[in-house]
């Protein structure tokens, strides 16, 4: 009997264990869900559509739905500092509101504006500080507060705030981010992050709210919600007293990069948006409802500026696009649209990339049946390194769960190509090169055996700026080293290059000189390396001999601190010093004799051509000109294991289109020829003012001939610069010792070879 009980007990235990194991097998339940969802896809989501705005708007300061359902906005236009428009059809068309032109005097700009539920407007305006004729962001002196009623009548509001309290800060304390509460009181934040509650008719301060840092604040019924770095605080605006914090909102708002909050149509309704989406919350509740997924819309970009809800419960959001122009999007609920698009692809990048994010947003809005998942390898939240992120990616790829499109910057591209992990997408590229719509020399730079596995969608050009006499003598590192030596012998005290640190010099020249150090079998050539260190030392000495040892040490500590604080590699930190777009005026003003680095925008051509016009001896040429190098910007590839190759190719094709190439933050010139030409159009007066800031040279926009000369140089580029973080990091370490005199060039070369020995032999 006992034996039977034992056996029975054993069998039950084994059966339980096996059953529990089966229950945790996620794969099969995911598949079941996937199959279910295909047959009975959930329906209903907010669709994003474009709404037109009045012509020539520069900025939108306030957007509000009034009690009667009209949508009103306060904006500034070209040469008109203050304009008001209203829409009776929920933002589809706009009509100018009369008698708004004289409210803000010419020459003044609006700082902030708010509209109450009746349509009354309160705004403050002033005159911007200027430097060298260019406007700065700070205002000169006090701002003027005015109230404009619904008939256009203007009244000054005597709002006076306590001083800013910072002894070194001479600026007058002013209100920004103006908003109206439901009870008609005006709210705003000052320079010390204090929120003021003001009687909108008299300008008297009713209450103040001080909570340290204020990322955003909102007004719902009688509550003021303040979003700080780690919590959402709540205050009663009738008494000015703090109420219980709203913990359920912390996850969505506290610590978010950017957010907007507005009251809804019902009493305690709150609507807010951040990069992750649009949400609804009822005060006092425990549930936050996501209405729209940020990844499926432009919310993902984080460039929203105003949010309003219309009378139908749909939403209006204004954004600033990549050209800093206002854009209006309408979010309407569609019962028929699938809750999530049926076609999905994943785009993977090691580091967050704003340009790619924007392109994904645009692509999704034009392809509503496609959803693009954006994955970042090194998010910075978990302390993972680039190497860890690549290993995690490799694990996913091997498991068949890898991304469809890869942003290849920082990844072992050669290894991926060798192991067959990247798919050939030359058919996508041929569509553009066949019609001469892309720079064939750039996009086919990585072509091997008629197959294309990786393509740069943007590029930069490495150049050397200096006097024509210097440019005639300098062709490569050797001749630059000789020029540096002769320069010193001639006794010229002007620094050769504007550098203060050995790594800064190494970063600037490494991409165009490193390829020469390698033998055909991939090993390092000791003689070439020693020679390179010798020349680099000469250039470094000629550029820093005017600095004392103490000054050099101070710079070294400053850069080390910045690199450690930013938790980045040296090449990532010094990347900011690579841009020599605005170095030509420095040479004209005698701060250095040469400038070496990269240019990635046509502003650089403006500087170069303007300086050449006024100082005919100063010009530019390609750096290490015999090799025709270009610096690949964002490089893309497609996974050979992608389950949605069609979708991936569609997205890749979009990245090369004129529309997508219109978006850029720092990646360089577009490879699309049409966009390349379009970007040569003269920019706005504000941009020209910005270009003239901080220089005594008069910067004008180049004429077409100057652009043609540059374009013909671009068409000769054919070799991507050498990119290898391991090699560059060991160069920085070795060259630092050589530059400071601790090691000779020969010893530094030995040092570097020892360090790279293992890496290259792997």
């Amino acid at each position: 009997m006992d034996t039977r009980v034992n056996k029975f007990g054993l069998l039950i235990m084994c059966a339980l264990i096996i059953l529990l194991g089966a229950c945790t097998h996620e794969g099969s339940s995911d598949k079941q869900d996937e199959n279910k969802s295909k047959d009975h896809a959930a329906k209903g989501r907010y669709l994003e559509t474009n709404n037109s705005l009045p012509q020539n708007l520069k900025g939108i300061y306030a957007l509000q739905k009034l009690k009667d359902g009209t949508i009103k906005l306060v904006a500034s236009g070209k040469d008109i500092p203050f304009d008001v428009y209203s829409s009776k059809d929920r933002g589809k068309s706009w009509k100018k509101v009369k008698a708004s032109g004289s409210i803000v005097p010419p020459g003044n700009d609006i700082n902030s504006a708010a509209i109450d539920l009746k349509g009354n407007i309160v705004l403050n305006y002033g005159v911007h500080e200027k430097s060298n004729g260019a406007k700065l962001s700070a205002f000169k002196g006090e701002l003027t507060y005015v109230k404009v009623d619904t008939h256009g009548k203007k009244t000054k509001l005597p709002i006076s705030l306590p001083s800013s309290g910072k002894s070194s800060d001479q600026r007058v304390n002013e209100l920004s981010d103006l908003k109206f509460a439901a009870n008609g009181d005006l709210f705003g934040t000052d320079q010390n992050n204090i929120i003021y509650q003001i009687d909108a008719s008299t300008g008297k301060i009713k209450h103040t709210y001080s909570s340290g840092d204020v990322n955003e604040y909102g007004l719902v019924n009688h509550s003021l919600l303040i979003v700080t770095g780690n919590q959402v605080q709540q205050y009663d605006i009738r008494t000015g007293k703090q109420k219980q914090d709203i913990d359920v909102l912390n996850k969505y708002l506290a610590g978010a990069k950017k957010s907007l909050m507005i009251p809804g149509n019902k009493k305690d309704d709150l609507y807010f948006c951040n990069e992750k989406g649009l949400y609804h919350y009822v005060l006092g509740g425990n549930v936050v409802e996501q209405l729209a997924d940020g990844s499926l819309s432009m919310l993902n970009s984080g460039n929203f500026t105003n949010l309003a809800v219309d009378s139908n419960g749909n939403f209006l959001v204004t954004y600033k696009n990549s050209d800093q122009q206002p854009v209006l999007k309408h979010y309407t609920f569609s019962k028929k649209a699938e809750a999530t698009p049926s076609h999905e692809i994943t785009v993977y990048t090691l580091n967050d990339n704003s340009t790619v994010k924007q392109q994904i947003t645009k692509f999704q809005s034009e392809n509503p049946n496609m959803h693009v998942n954006y994955e970042v390898g090194v998010s910075g939240k978990n302390g993972e390194s680039t190497s860890d992120a690549i290993k995690t990616l490799n694990t996913k790829i091997l498991a068949g769960k890898g991304p469809d499109v890869l942003i290849l910057n920082g990844m072992p591209v050669d290894a991926y190509v060798e192991k067959g992990l990247l798919a050939d997408f030359s058919d996508v590229i041929d569509k553009y090169t066949g019609k001469d719509e892309a720079f064939k020399n750039i996009v086919e730079a990585y072509k091997t055996k008629n197959k294309i596995y990786a393509v740069p969608i943007r590029f930069k050009v490495p150049i050397l700026i200096g006097s024509q006499d210097a440019l005639d003598q300098i062709h490569d590192l050797d001749t630059m080293g000789d020029y540096a030596e002769n320069d010193r012998k001639a006794g010229d005290k002007t620094p050769l290059l504007d550098i203060q640190d050995p790594s800064m010099l190494a970063v600037k020249l490494f991409p165009v000189i490193a390829a020469d150090w390698f033998n055909k079998d991939g090993s390092l050539s000791k003689s070439q390396l020693t020679d390179a260190f010798t020349k680099l030392k000469k250039i470094y000495d000629a550029s820093t001999e005017h600095l004392s040892k103490e000054q050099l040490n101070d710079y070294k500590k400053k850069f080390e601190y910045a690199v450690n604080k930013g938790d980045m590699t040296k090449i990532q930190y010094y990347d900011g010093y690579m841009d020599v777009s605005n170095s030509a005026p420095d040479i004209a003003e005698g701060r250095s004799r040469l400038a070496a680095g990269t240019i990635g925008s046509f502003d650089a051509i403006a500087y170069l051509s303007s300086v050449h016009e006024s100082h005919h001896t100063i010009s530019y040429q390609l750096l290490n000109k015999g090799k025709h190098y270009f610096v690949p910007g964002i490089t893309v590839g497609m996974s050979a294991k992608s389950k949605n190759q069609e979708g991936a190719k569609k997205f890749l094709s979009y990245l090369f289109s004129e529309k997508a190439q219109n978006i850029d933050y720092t990646g360089g010139f577009p490879v699309n020829k049409k966009q390349f030409e379009k970007a040569q159009a003269k920019p706005s007066q504000d941009t020209m003012s910005d270009l003239n800031m901080g220089t005594n040279e008069k910067i004008t926009w180049p004429d077409p001939k100057q652009f043609e000369a540059f374009t013909s140089k671009v068409e000769t580029l054919k070799t991507p610069t050498y990119q290898d973080d391991v090699v560059s990091e060991s160069l920085f370490e070795a060259f630092e010792k050589c530059a400071s005199g601790k090691e000779s060039p020969h010893e530094a070369a030995n040092d570097m070879m020892e360090k790279l020995n293992l890496y290259l032999s792997e």
Binding site: N6, L10, I18, S387, N394, P412, K419, L758, Y759, E762
Partner: protein, 287 residues
């Protein structure tokens, strides 16, 4: 004729869930690694022994293997001798024995990241050690980027696992019947003779266990080295785990698998030799 008897079938049922887990997470992946060691990563075709030939001609692999063997050869005897000496002291009845036992275990409780941070603070260019040397006008040194790095890793390993081994040794020492020592004292044997003729012979099986565990723990020292020095540390501390890590990043799974198979064979031979020479009769019976 029964293949297994009733008792054995009961035993099998008890170990079945654990056995399934080991099969799924250890045995099957190991078989896959062996399979991959004979396959070319680029063409996915059978490559015979080519991968093994490749790794033995790979300079980085030879350096890593050499360093790993050197590390084991230096660390294991050092750790065992020092920990045995401490265990003997603690079992001899000195004052504060339990306190010292806990104190020696303390390093094991310190997280890897904290140890890595300690290394950086102590051995970096502007670290504590260079600061002290500089104040004494003795000149500074780049500790982590020179041959000293190896001894720093050895020291860190010994410091971390000494307590663990002390506890193991103490368990073995306390299991030796006191009557053996009493009989020896009566016969006029001194402490040294007792150690060599009573203690050591009775500790053979413990030596086997301690050695195996020490070798396994030696592979964990990679974590601190990786956190401080990254993928490519000084050549003296470039171990097999580094090259495995880097090959995985480059997806050179053929070379990685071949190296893993070679390494597993070496460890297996080592364990079998140890078992032959050090495991006691009773332990052999159990195994």
């Amino acid at each position: 004729m029964k293949f297994i008897d009733k008792q054995q079938s009961k035993n099998l049922l008890f170990i079945l869930p654990s056995l399934l887990g080991v099969c799924i997470f250890v045995l099957i992946p190991s078989v896959d690694v062996i399979r991959r060691s004979f396959v070319d990563a680029k063409t996915h075709h059978f490559a015979g022994l080519q991968n093994f030939v490749t790794i033995f001609h790979n300079h980085a692999f030879l350096v890593a293997a050499g360093n790993t063997l050197k590390f084991i050869a230096v660390c294991i005897p050092t750790l065992m001798i020092i920990s045995l000496a401490i265990a003997l002291l603690l079992t001899s009845g000195i004052k504060g024995g339990p306190f010292f036992k806990s104190a020696y275990l303390f390093p094991m409780a310190i997280p890897v990241a904290s140890i890595a941070l300690m290394w950086r603070v102590t051995f970096e260019d502007h670290g504590l050690l260079n600061g002290i040397l500089s104040s004494l006008h003795l000149g500074t040194h780049d500790w982590m980027h020179s041959g000293f790095a190896f001894w720093i890793v050895v020291g860190s390993y010994v410091w971390k696992y000494i307590g663990y081994n002390v506890v193991l040794w103490m368990a073995g020492l306390l299991a030796i019947p006191k009557s053996y020592y009493e009989a020896a004292w009566v016969d006029g044997a001194g402490k040294l003779k007792c150690f060599f003729y009573i203690t050591l012979p009775n500790m053979k099986s413990m030596v086997f266990i301690v050695t195996i565990l020490a070798v396994l723990n030696s592979f964990k020292s990679f974590r601190e080295v990786y956190m401080v020095a990254g993928n490519y540390p000084n050549q003296s501390i470039y171990m097999l785990q580094h090259i495995f890590n880097n090959w995985y990043r480059e997806l050179s799974l053929d070379k990685l698998s071949a190296a893993a198979v070679v390494f597993a064979i070496v460890i297996l031979i080592f364990v079998m030799l140890l078992q032959k020479f050090w495991a006691s009769e009773s332990l052999k019976g159990d195994l």
